[in-house]
């Protein structure tokens, strides 16, 4: 189990250009597998163009209390990139003036940003339809100062989306660290206790499943059924929906794929499962990702690869929705992760 980020370890793969090099060379350079650009060109889907903005996803910092094996952010306690209140103010201006109906806060553990609560309070006043916080659950049990988070989320009608890689302790702790399963279960029970995830409740609680190794997620509906049965039978836990998300071959997951000699097979699996219908609905067509320092990206993955939006409007301070609409999405081979099978996005399957 990892305890430090790749960045802290000085690992080559902490550099986004090294990751992009790997994704462009080898099997893709030799022509064994088609590049993503070639593949989507076969069905005349290149270039992918941004449609109307619906979702603003803000990454408020890479600091996290966990160091998960698969993390595409390479997040951890040693990451110091944190969004300032000034940048948050700029984000609030954009939220007020944009047509986006969903605000999605992510990290790291977003709750570890010292201005997190201030930001949630201010953002909830703007009257956005769906206000998501991606919580890793264990943060709620990590320190006394976080114990009241379920009540805080409830007060601001936050939609909680939480990672839960499996309904068994063994598989969860292997991916996310020892003790994560028990803390997550306790946090889910506390969220249920204030009304989150209960049948018919407006307090939305959804779980995110992503595979613990070098394989693709199974059918989302079937997985949701299995999760619901197991969590109810074993712990009396309720939740609304399960989002099945594919691991994208970047950052720590890429490092794992290479170290375990699974990289080529995994890329074959992604390419073989390529689904043109998923390309139609990839999240980058209706989402913008904002980094801790205010830069704009097509998605959180491109943010980690430091591939900025292809637009003159590149920073929150010069945000221009008209300019951004219709922009060409920046792609590389990691994009196969969002188009495999039923597709994958931060909201689960797309096709």
């Amino acid at each position: 189990m990892a305890t430090k980020s790749l960045k802290k370890l000085g690992n080559n793969l902490a550099q986004s250009n090294k990751q992009l090099e790997i994704l462009s060379n080898g099997i893709f350079k030799s022509g064994k597998l088609p590049t993503f650009k070639d593949k989507i060109s076969e069905t005349s889907q290149f270039p992918i163009k941004a449609k109307k903005l619906e979702i603003l996803q803000i990454n408020v910092g890479y600091m996290c209390n966990q160091v998960c094996d698969h993390c595409h952010v390479d997040a951890g306690p040693d990451r110091k990139e944190i969004m300032t209140r000034d940048t948050m103010r700029q984000c609030l201006e954009v939220i007020k003036n944009s047509g986006a109906h969903t605000l999605d806060l992510t990290g790291g553990a977003p709750e570890m940003n010292p201005d997190f609560r201030w930001f949630v309070e201010e953002a909830s006043k703007v009257g956005i339809t769906d206000f998501i916080v991606r919580s890793n659950l264990t943060i709620i049990r990590a320190n006394k100062k976080y114990y009241d988070l379920p009540e805080f989320f409830k007060k601001h009608n936050v939609h909680v989306v939480s990672s839960m890689p499996h309904w068994t302790r063994g598989k969860t702790d292997k991916q996310r660290g020892d003790g994560v399963f028990d803390k997550s279960i306790k946090a889910l029970q506390e969220l249920n206790a204030v009304g989150y995830g209960m049948p018919g409740s407006d307090l939305r609680l959804d779980l995110v499943y992503n595979p613990s190794g070098a394989f693709l997620p199974g059918d989302q509906v079937a997985m949701e059924k299995d999760f619901k049965k197991a969590l109810m039978d074993d712990f009396g836990i309720e939740f609304h929906n399960l989002f099945a998300i594919t691991n994208l071959p970047i950052a720590r997951f890429l490092d794992y794929l290479i170290a375990s000699e699974n990289y080529e097979d995994y890329m074959y699996s992604l390419v073989e499962a390529y689904n043109p219908a998923a390309v139609e609905n990839v999240m980058c067509t209706n989402t913008l990702s904002i980094s801790w320092d205010g830069y704009l990206f097509d998605c959180d993955f491109n943010q980690m690869l430091e591939l900025p939006v292809n637009s003159k409007s590149r920073h929150i301070s010069e945000f221009n929705e008209e300019l951004l609409e219709g922009r060409n999405i920046v792609i590389s081979q990691h994009c196969y992760g969002c188009t495999a099978g039923a597709g994958s996005s931060c909201q689960g399957v797309v096709a």
Binding site: T168, P211, F215, G218, D219, M223
Partner: protein
């Protein structure tokens, strides 16, 4: 032996069998796909049966394919191992139940 008989990468070429007999190959893959669809049995149950049979058939390609398939369905390694034991129990039972035939023969010849 300079090369192994089995190559894991050959599994990816399975579809090519249709190139030398298109009609039969296509019919086989259609049938195969249909068999594994959700039916009176769930796709999950079928995947576990396939994993057990892959072992009794000792097919390395099938073992690779259905180990991955069961993992993708969230099936745990304990469940996977139990499924294989079901296959192994039938295999050993099938061997041992023939012991009755041996006993019958002994009793007849040397009773």
């Amino acid at each position: 032996m300079s090369k192994p008989y089995y190559d894991a990468a050959d599994l990816r070429k399975f579809g090519k069998i249709t190139e030398w007999s298109e009609e039969l190959g296509t019919k086989f893959f259609d049938y195969y796909g249909k068999v594994f669809e959700e039916g009176a049995l769930t796709a999950r149950e079928k995947s576990l049966i396939a994993l057990a049979v892959a072992h009794t058939e000792q097919c390395p390609y099938c073992i690779d394919a259905y180990t991955k398939d069961t993992l993708q369905r969230g099936i745990t390694k304990e469940q996977m191992m139990e499924a294989i034991h079901v296959g192994a129990a039938i295999k050993s039972g099938a061997t041992l139940v023939h012991g009755v035939q041996m006993m019958n023969k002994v009793n007849k010849l040397d009773g």
